[in-house]
Symmetry: D3
Subunit: 160 residues, 6 copies
């Protein structure tokens, strides 16, 4: 029988170094996407006790810039599970370097697949939902999964 | 009157260096997302003759891995324009280091906004469509723009 | 009157990327020291609500290597406070990429000083100790602070 | 019989990130040389359908600096072929981030050698020249090849 | 019989690039620790003609910041030898980019162990002391070695 | 009257980290060119007590590859001076990580110009030659300077 499991949040903390900034003096989108991909890998490999690969990154909304020198905290959590796939939600928070006020900077979703040592998809535990928020995030994750499947289907029919 | 303009493709060429690889020996997703964000910036700043910022990255589908040592070619093109926003489509191709066979590795879309020197949104030229493919990509861009507006609306109503 | 405050643990999570490895295939010491310095900065700036600078890094014991592809978790906590200085303890844990077994890889201590916008030392809150472990770590921090003051004194007398 | 072939231009596009700049706020020479070496590798491996190695970099003239935030476009083309060696010419253009005016920033030449899987020199296709410019660039490439052979010869006789 | 040997100083020279700076515009501690670890490796591998690993970094005192654009010179020297271990002292000097005035910025000590190809500790040559300074530095190295052994002993008895 | 001065050698020491290697497992040309450019800057700014910029890199001959994990030593020295320009010669040596046998891997020359704070060319000290080798290297530097002036002249006449 398939294992069941709750998901814990994975926390990555970083400071916005100069090398992470664009010509506006803020964290550049590409670097944040890289950090989110890393968070997605760690959160899903912890959940599935397995290697995982990125199948797709989904909507990543950049709400607020994070300035040079400030702190970034990424909170990544598995919110939906298929048979071998997981949707992971990542919130990126900015945090003032001196006042330490936190604000939601970016939210994004990634589709990840668990793989065995030959790179073949591998079953993942079923996600246990307990709180109201977990049930709401499951719905979000499900919608994201469906959008990604629609894209695959359209492609099959020759669409873009 | 608002300017009208065709969009040219921006080409980025790279080799998969060791620093771009994950523990599977292939280009890691986070690095590819970073390259795509850079391509999105260059393509839109060329189209709008303006600074631009990433409003959101949309679906990015990882079809095929690109191996260490091989070549990456990114082709980025503005496919949809709103008043101040642009949707840019990016194809990332892998290319064998010796046989130079090309294959589509990843396709992604980014929502970008043109900004003036104070960071305020700024009008962009209207995209001129001439080929059948440009008209098809416009439809894809429009759907993406709508999905992103729906997300904003849901958030306004308190959804995730 | 001077503020009093408990210290929370700051968590940094990372994956050992290829660029972090030496010719033994493990996380190299220099990179780990860099990560610990970053953790020391974030933990003390959060505690003091202030910019902070590294006055000295103290003993950092490398117990076990962390392999390429595995996960690193750094847990940094202020364990001792002077008037303007803080001693921060950092544990670095390795975590198997597939089995997620955690082990203590490295422990280190950093002397940090809070500074104002002109770079002058600035008062920090007094650390509140509640648990037995916090009292034990305070003693460690105090010994470290004293060793560092002895070094300064010896230097004053012309020693090395 | 030995294959004959025209050479296509390889285009690399980049933005001058902070990490590429020196203390004058412009792209530093070392980074540009690195980008040119990458361009030389890709252009020659595409031409020869083979791995290639850098035998020498020849004159690289830095005409104009490229500023932080601006765009770099490198155009690399094989201009001369020996039996196993190729001379590749690389133009680096700067391009204003807002006005997109292009200017020639740097021109350089690299001597590259095609190698098989054991690292031994390997025959390359003969370059077909069609335009006047291609014939002129062939002469430049030939002179460069000769200068490099003279250096080797002088070294053989004990010179520097 | 065990080889005896004098120690030569290893010199690393670097410029403080933007990527090495923190939000104060100076070389950040973590980067300097990384450079010192590299210097420790090279100095000890040259002394022992062997691979070496970092057992611990000991006190590293940050006396003076080094500014962006200035030059760093690290001078690393083996000052104490045990049977398989070495203590290496590293001075980091700042050097003004225009006036080339040198000042001692940081001094640190690392405990290194020579290892064979299976990673097992391996005997190192005995250090020959000739100058007064070398004898003084030997005493410093010995004290550092003892402090590190005390830490190991305390840990064995359950201390922190 | 113009100052006269002997030139000292600037030594940079590095280990070939994974991030410096290509898909052949050796230091890649682009990285070595970057290190040489850094060495050229430091050697000339020390000689001229001034900021300097790269006017051109001249012939850089890659004689022998340096393998991952091995040590690189760059020795840079001003060998020729014009009124505001200097030719700097850089030898890059490889050094086995265990046997510490040194071999000449690469030799290159850079044309550097001293600049004041407004970026205008600035007089440099005259080079004093004392040894036979210094006189020989002066001749090499002079020939390099002349080749670079010929290139500039040809360009003026519309050549490539």
């Amino acid at each position: 029988m398939r294992a069941k499991k709750r998901a814990a949040e994975t926390i990555l903390t970083e400071q916005v170094m100069l090398t992470y900034t664009n010509h506006y003096g803020t964290l550049y989108g590409g670097k944040l996407l890289e950090l989110m991909d890393k968070a997605a890998f760690i959160a899903t490999s912890r959940f599935a006790h397995s290697d995982t690969v990125t199948a797709s990154s989904e909507s990543v909304d950049f709400h607020h810039p994070i300035r040079f020198g400030d702190i970034i905290e990424l909170a990544a959590k598995v919110i939906f599970t298929g048979r071998t796939s997981m949707v992971v939600r990542i919130h990126a928070f900015g945090e003032g370097r001196r006042d330490h006020k936190k604000f939601l900077a970016t939210t994004g979703y990634f589709n990840m697949v668990a793989v065995d040592e030959q790179g073949r998809p591998k079953e993942v535990p079923e996600l246990i939902l307990e709180t109201e928020e977990e049930r709401r995030e499951w719905e979000t994750g499900k919608r994201i999964k469906e959008l990604s499947e629609e894209r695959t289907a359209r492609k099959g029919r020759g669409g873009s």
